[in-house]
């Protein structure tokens, strides 16, 4: 046990004394969260929109002038009918369109409720949500004005929001689970693999092997520090998403951390497997980047929706652990699901981990090749 502690201590020295490692460990998650976070909370100004006013009455004009006055929108005058609108969306000329029904004012004042259609281009989900929420709040202000301070709104305007192209709004709050998968892949797979292979390269592995410390313990004690560091990373990302990005966690923290630990262990086994199979730091790094990080970005569903991919790629995505982790984390963080909702994905992760663990154990050599 003492040997084990000494080993773990040594591993921490390595990490803490290497600025590059430290930077990747802690700079990366911070930078990623901030970059994505910035993109998310970025205020949209002068977004081009189209207004298709079929009512052309006082109420519709009042609302349009308020929208114009907000400063967030720039109304494209030439896009005035349905067919033109579709082209304008496709060419990216407008980000959002507002359609007033024929009897808007009449509906509003006589039936006490009227509808407005708000159509947004959700291929850029961040902008789409931001814009629709601006429109909604302008409409609410207008309603409040009509109510004249009454607690119950006498006249209700119901915006009927449609998201074009990406109805489920993939992206926006989804990037935190994505960043988590990426960072853990980087830290747990690449760093672990490199740190083991480095010992082979510098020859210290020879000395470690010729010692009473069991070779499998050498590998295990390499994994422990990175498990701890990865957990610190997970916590950092979660705390930042809650307190900096105001992205609350809907489900259980305990479950979230437990599932993260499982995924870290998956990554560590992958890292160890790579380190067993390679001899130089460069090769280990290349395999980690090309073989692990790239599929994580492509197939986790974080950047590109998997259901839009051709079937062969969808099948490939099933063996990418990050995909399952991504689903798990999203379910807990955003949908607030409990374990009963994610047990299948958890089981798949456990299977993948066991597979690579056994494979590593089989290919691990107690001697030099």
């Amino acid at each position: 046990m003492e040997q084990f502690i000494a080993f773990v201590k040594k591993e921490f020295y390595h990490v803490l004394r290497d600025r590059r490692t430290l930077f990747i460990l802690f700079g990366m998650p911070l930078a990623q969260i901030l970059i994505f976070g910035f993109a998310l909370t970025n205020e949209v100004k002068n977004a081009r929109i189209a207004v298709f006013d079929q009512a052309k009455d006082e109420a519709s004009q009042q609302l349009i002038s308020r929208i114009t006055a907000s400063g967030y929108f720039e109304i494209q005058e030439d896009v005035m009918d349905n067919s033109l609108m579709e082209d304008a969306f496709k060419s990216g000329k407008i980000k959002l369109a507002i359609i007033f029904p024929r009897h808007f004012e009449n509906d509003l004042f006589h039936q006490h409720h009227a509808q407005i259609q708000v159509i947004a281009d959700a291929s850029d989900p961040n902008t789409a949500t931001t814009l629709t929420s601006y429109i909604s709040s302008i409409i609410q202000d207008y309603q409040a004005e009509l109510a004249g301070g009454a607690a119950v709104m006498p006249y209700q305007i119901i915006p009927e929001i449609r998201m074009l192209y990406n109805p489920q709004l993939k992206g926006a709050p989804n990037f935190v689970p994505g960043v988590m998968a990426l960072v853990l892949m980087l830290v747990s797979v690449m760093m672990t693999a490199i740190s083991i292979v480095r010992e082979k390269e510098t020859g210290t592995m020879e000395v470690l092997l010729v010692s009473p410390f069991k070779p499998t313990w050498v590998i295990l004690s390499k994994a422990v520090p990175y498990l701890i560091l990865s957990l610190v990373n997970v916590l950092t990302i979660l705390l930042m998403s809650v307190y900096v990005l105001d992205l609350p966690i809907a489900g259980s923290w305990v479950l979230l951390l437990a599932e993260s630990t499982l995924f870290i262990i998956t990554c560590l086994t992958l890292g160890i497997f790579i380190s067993i199979k390679t001899k130089s730091q460069q090769v280990a790094m290349l395999i980690s980047l090309m073989g692990m990080l790239l599929p994580t970005i492509m197939f986790s569903g974080f950047m590109f929706p998997i259901e839009n991919m051709p079937l062969p790629l969808q099948l490939i995505s099933n063996v990418v652990p990050a995909k399952w982790f991504y689903i798990i984390i999203k379910s807990i963080m955003i949908k607030g699901l409990g374990f009963e909702g994610i047990w299948k994905e958890t089981l798949i992760l456990i299977m993948i981990t066991l597979f690579f663990f056994l494979l590593s154990l089989r290919s691990f050599k107690i001697r030099l090749e």
Partner: protein, 321 residues
């Protein structure tokens, strides 16, 4: 460490030899490279044994097999009575090993390296400090310095301390002096002498022939084959011919002329002299002939001295005959 004392090892296993190597061979790349070719030798308890040979002779492969890092293709070997294949765990916990490259953690300090290796071997620095004391005091003033910032000589001393800290029964040092200057090399061999007096068996490899005479016994090795195993004195005594050291004013021309003297005479540069090996011709007749020959060639300041060979001469003899 107690379990490796005489009683623990079992009296039946306790042979006179600390190391016994029996016809071991090792090939790489599926047999394409013969690194070690049917090598046998023994090392006695408490002996300072040298494997002497150039790079690529197979020294490191032999070390790695004896330290259980490589499996031999054929042959057997025991270290302290333990078989290198089946009893590898016992060997691993009782030997000290210093690989060719000083295997230290560059980003840990002297102290941290030493403590790490001590703990790894289930011991403490304090427990065996007496073993490393006179080496460690030389680097102790820099104990907070990272190993990567140390000079070659200091790294070498630290690596030796780390290999010694668990009081190994056998110490394997693979080319500890390669690339190290003559002064540091001399100091290093003095340290080895003191360790030997403490009863540690030491196996050391080196490409420097002049270090051979500092060993109790040596194995001369070239291209995976052992040329000779004996004490340095015996190897020198076994040199079959009379050797002469020849010198003249124009050494460069002397080198070129000497091969034309007699076809059966081998000559080569050796420090400030040229060594002339008379092969099977003995007696002073050769010396007089040689002086006459060089005189006739117009050399000035001719010196021809009969000398006894060094290990390097013996090695050259074995390589050329």
């Amino acid at each position: 460490m107690v379990e490796h004392s005489a009683s623990g090892a079992g009296s039946s296993k306790k042979s006179l030899n600390m190391i016994a190597v029996n016809h071991i061979s090792k090939t790489y790349n599926g047999g394409a490279v013969k690194a070690v070719n049917d090598v046998s030798f023994t090392v006695d308890r408490g002996e300072l044994f040298g494997l002497i040979g150039p790079d690529g002779a197979g020294k490191s492969s032999i070390f790695r097999m004896l330290t259980t890092l490589l499996l031999p293709d054929s042959g057997t070997a025991t270290v302290n009575g333990y078989n290198i294949v089946t009893n590898y765990q016992q060997i691993r916990s009782s030997v000290g090993y210093m690989p060719g490259r000083f295997s230290l953690y560059q980003d840990l300090s002297i102290e941290e390296n030493l403590h790490f290796f001590a703990t790894l071997f289930n011991t403490t620095v304090e427990e065996n400090y007496h073993l490393i004391a006179d080496i460690y005091v030389q680097i102790a003033p820099f104990k907070k310095r990272r190993a990567g910032k140390l000079s070659g000589g200091m790294k070498q001393k630290l690596a030796l301390c780390c290999a010694l800290i668990h009081k190994p029964t056998v110490l394997f040092l693979d080319e500890p002096t390669t690339g190290v200057d003559p002064v540091s090399r001399k100091e290093f061999w003095e340290m080895l002498g003191r360790l030997k007096r403490q009863g540690i068996t030491i196996v050391v490899s080196t490409p420097y022939m002049d270090e051979a005479s500092l060993c109790d016994r040596i194995a001369l090795i070239q291209q995976g084959k052992i040329l000779s195993v004996d004490t340095p004195q015996q190897i020198i005594a076994a040199y079959p011919d009379q050797l002469y050291a020849v010198k003249a004013a124009d050494m460069l021309r002397l080198v070129q002329i000497l091969p034309t003297f007699r076809p059966s005479v081998n000559s080569y540069l050796f420090g400030e002299y040229i060594h002339v090996d008379a092969l099977d011709i003995n007696g002073d007749g050769l010396k007089d002939d040689l002086i006459r020959f060089l005189d006739a060639e117009g050399f000035k300041g001719i010196e021809v001295i009969p000398i006894s060979p060094t290990i390097e001469d013996c090695f050259i003899k074995m390589l050329t005959s």
